[in-house]
Symmetry: C2
Subunit: 201 residues, 2 copies
């Protein structure tokens, strides 16, 4: 668009958003200019504050602008004694939406990946160990992703828990609820068979 | 996400962008926080400047932060004597990309729509009339959309041009190049037949 350097710069900047190509960037820029300039200004302010003020929770390492996030600071969640280990802050969001977990979290911001030089301390396991040592924790629930790296990371943390006499558990993997058996991949189905549980009457 | 009000506010604000739902907003926010904070800050600045500084060109009404946009201010384009009338600034972009047009534009920012109370002056036709009167214009090329409203708007402007002795033309509509005839809708095909041109040897 040769009519406006500022418009070109806006379209270019919008492309830092995942999934936004030249066409969507153009549509977004025109939409904001034509119909929602106040929305665009609010977005600019939200971005500025989020990018500059959001850091990591000292306890669980998730994104927060506070020292300790609201989940970690909640006395009820502290008393619960369970810590759920996840790879990313988005996983917390997914688990919170189930309403099935009342403990606290620990966010690794990744997983062990020796080939990429990512060792235990790079994903904060020194801080997790410190918590296992210092706090009264009943159970560590390992909710890393069901990938090779996620499994290896879960195993490593389970051993760490063992050293401090803390129970470790792994979330169940298998056929998704509501899914059709024939649509599920073989690895998942193997996991599902191996992880079968006796039906109690 | 109960861990950060600023993060929630960022996700909410991202939804002012067209095509961005709760899931994409979350993915965008996490992506920026985790991997591209400087991109997020640049986007915030581009948004702030674009939303507050971009107005409309006094001559063609397209988006620009200048009084007169760079296309209208270009002496070569002024000498060309052609004005292409389009419904939106995005149409200018599309036509510029063909490299086939060396004149100036006039952006209606919509089309005539009597049922919605949108009359000639609401789409700037008083300003277009003023230009027809004052400037030396050889041809007005009507590139409004091939919709009922777009056609009606083109016809209205063609009559206006007639009053000032200025030639008006309508861009051709028909089967898209590279398209397959059997995939084209009936209205387009009718247009294509009616608009047939004699092959000259
Ligand atoms: Zn926390
Ligand atoms: Zn202009």
């Amino acid at each position: 668009m040769q009519t406006s350097p500022l418009l070109e710069s806006l379209m270019e900047s919008l492309r830092c958003l995942p999934g936004v190509g030249p066409k969507s960037a153009q549509r977004m820029a025109f939409q904001l200019l034509q119909r929602d300039r106040s929305g665009g200004m609010r977005l600019a302010q939200a971005l500025t504050r989020a990018m500059s003020e959001i850091g990591h929770c000292k306890d669980c390492h998730t994104f927060t602008e506070q020292d300790i996030c609201t989940i970690c600071a909640n006395p009820r969640r502290q008393q619960n004694g369970q810590i759920c280990v996840v790879e990313s802050p988005a996983d917390i969001h997914a688990i919170e939406q189930t309403g099935q977990f009342g403990g606290r979290y620990f966010v690794l911001m990744g997983h062990l990946s020796p080939l990429d030089g990512i060792g235990p301390n790079d994903i904060g396991l020194d801080r997790l160990e410190h918590r296992l040592e210092r706090e009264t924790i009943q159970e560590v629930i390992l909710a890393t992703n069901p990938t090779v790296e996620g499994e290896a990371t879960a195993n490593y943390i389970a051993e760490l828990c063992g050293q401090y006499g803390v129970d470790a558990s792994r979330i169940a993997h298998g056929v998704p609820m509501g899914g059709e058996l024939e649509m599920v991949d073989g690895t998942t189905l193997s996991h599902s068979l191996a992880g079968r549980q006796k039906i109690k009457f």
